[in-house]
Symmetry: C2
Subunit: 412 residues, 2 copies
């Protein structure tokens, strides 16, 4: 099974319908309430932000996943208002929408999984969500257009819809995964298990038609998230609403078992990887997507710690915006990451260009050639620490004047 | 003794001469090598960056302070080249300038305290420093103009010279402190003791004519630095060269003892506080100087941890640039700081305007009034956690398009 084949499938997983309508929550007037319904229910696993300040839907979603043991019939998402820092009234408003959606779509209230994204701290207009539930029921369907309408409605500052598809052939039956994501700013997901504080502005929904228990899904989701959504950063701001939800409708009739587990896990990783890349690529004001490949570390955790220090350094990120091979800033950020290393053992390359070798500027350093590498939309910076065998790949981006403009203007 | 009186003194400490010349290290062609000489020597205490990657002058300065027990005769500073990530050749070049300066100014080589600031990773042009030592000797003097020439020569992206003066009257004798600082970007000093890795682009020299042992000076310097230079951040990038040096020439004849310690320590704190403020106020592209006053914390360290998360959040900083009272971003950043707290106990005010009270938007919130408070050049955001009695004040600034322009253009 080749990766390319997995991603090329156009089919959607069976057992779900999608829809979206305009409720007047987004200032733009675009569609802003989306729903996905599994008529026969689905088993699910969710991961939420580790931020201690969490939005009401994260509080409610966590409780629902706990009370149902991971059973989900309806995913109800709105964009335009994050329902965060809204206190008990915000939680009450969220519960109210879940109860109404359960009645409308014929399930128990705690089988509704709610999500919100948008401005923080503004009272949540539950009445706008309640008012559009009948219309939502009318517009739902199982075509790619329906699925795309879901993906578009959950966008906020995103400029592009983010979807990825993969399938696995099991004895002639196609088991499918359809992933949807939104997120362009406040992106530095730190997703943890269902217990503990949670919250963020990256929303990811992974719909599949495999038959699996929630416990099995959790086991697949965590490693897939660790090397995708937990390995990206746009601005280092971990949101209060970040949510990743994996659902399995079982409608393909294929069970997740010893034989299907590995190909399904690989397909899931591909979908997560593709969505994570799309998020960074559509980051607010992004001019360059930079992969930080930290090698020669003692542990993967230390490699990631160094990658994050660099990915969050305004000086590194502004240098990337002008394609400036200022490796001194890379080294300085690594130096304050908290990971012990010796600059005299370090090698740095930008794309194929050596810039720093064993403690000093590389003898082969050619500023213009390095500058040229950095003019690409997408390139890799490799930092070898010379300490061990562990490594990581972390995806991030430059910091531009456009990012500042977008976030100065995104007014409360 | 009132603070204002302390700061109003124009006199310079006795026992020092200052001077600066153009050596061709700065691209601008401005004066870039500065010297301060204590003809009879001075006792000193130094603190360096905790960054693990340190510039050659930090490595050398640390060794010199250790070998002399804190004795300093010459402070030799250049701007335009940080002599960092330059390997053993960089250290050799630094030592070479110290040896030459010692010969020129008649002291032992390890009584020369070297500093460098500027671009990282470019081989250090020691020959340019060596060439100007005779001229430096000619231009040195003890007038305010000489002292200012020192302050101007150490500037890099600074737009203003940063100096502060204070004095303490002891039985009719004026004991003086003259402080000089540079720093406008890569500012998030994390200064530690003389042992351990060190490095940064904030340079601070505190000249005084009190008579004191190095051990006494260290005892005064650390608390003064903790609440000034270690409580500011412009961009969160901890430099590889940060250095604070306190010198005491003894020329006033007044000893640091049980009677003089407190007023001298207060004067030192005032000078450090003034310089720290000047650094943030002249931060790259800064439009607003924001004091984060975190109260009701369990410990001062936790208060500072929350202040730093907010001070390093691009989303908080961009909101400040447009005077947007987006307190949701403040709360979200506090939420990922790692400090445990309950949003339902939190109160936030911007200037005099309540914006968030006990978990929800304040009933008294007036967006326009809060926006008006934030149009001031300088204002305070108070976040009360409702957990305890500890607090901190942390000084930071907004993130502007101008910051991005400056740092994208500051080419290697």
């Amino acid at each position: 099974m080749e990766n390319e084949q997995i991603l090329k499938t156009q089919g959607l997983p069976q057992g779900f319908v999608w829809g979206a309508v305009k409720a007047g929550i987004k200032v733009s007037g675009n569609a802003d309430v989306a729903v996905a319904v599994a008529a026969k229910g689905a088993n699910g696993a969710a991961m939420f932000t580790k931020n201690q300040v969490v939005a009401a839907p994260v509080t409610v979603g966590r409780r629902h996943m706990a009370s149902t043991g991971g059973r989900v019939s309806v995913v109800l998402v709105n964009a335009g208002n994050a329902n965060c820092a809204t206190g008990q009234p915000g939680v009450d408003a969220c519960v109210q929408t879940c109860v109404a959606a359960a009645e409308r779509f014929h399930c128990i209230f705690d089988e509704v999984f709610p999500s919100s994204t948008g401005i923080i701290g503004v009272p949540f207009p539950a009445e706008k969500v309640l008012a559009v539930l009948p219309e939502l029921e009318q517009v739902m369907g199982a075509t790619p257009e329906h699925a795309d309408s879901f993906a578009q409605a959950i966008m906020t500052t995103d400029t592009k819809m983010k979807v990825a598809r993969a399938s696995v052939d099991v004895d002639g039956v196609e088991v499918r995964i359809f992933g949807v994501a939104k997120g362009a700013g406040m992106i530095h997901p730190q997703l943890g298990g269902p217990v503990g504080p949670a919250h963020a502005t990256m929303l990811v929904y992974l719909f599949s038609d495999i038959a699996a228990e929630s416990e099995q899904l959790r086991g697949l989701l965590e490693p897939a998230v660790e090397r995708s959504f937990n390995s990206i950063s746009i601005d280092g701001d971990t949101s209060t609403n970040d949510t990743v939800l994996l659902l399995a409708s079982g409608a393909s009739g294929v069970k997740l078992d010893a034989r299907t587990q590995e190909p399904f896990a690989n397909a899931l990783k591909l979908v997560c990887g593709s969505l994570a890349y799309q998020i960074v690529d559509d980051g607010e004001g992004v001019g360059h997507v930079v992969t930080l490949h930290i090698t020669g570390a003692r542990t993967e955790a230390e490699a990631k710690q160094i990658a994050k220090a660099i990915a969050h350094s305004p000086l590194c990120k502004t240098a990337w915006s002008s394609a400036d091979p200022n490796w001194g800033r890379l080294l300085a950020a690594a130096g304050y990451s908290g990971v012990a290393f010796d600059p005299a053992l370090v090698n740095i390359t930008i794309g194929a260009q050596p810039v720093f070798e064993l403690g000093v500027r590389s003898a082969a350093f050619q500023k213009e050639a390095a500058h040229a590498e950095m003019q690409a939309r997408d390139y890799t910076i490799t930092i070898d620490l010379g300490l061990g065998e562990a490594e990581c790949r972390f995806l991030t981006c430059d910091l531009t004047e456009e990012y500042v403009r977008i976030n100065a203007d995104y007014s409360s």
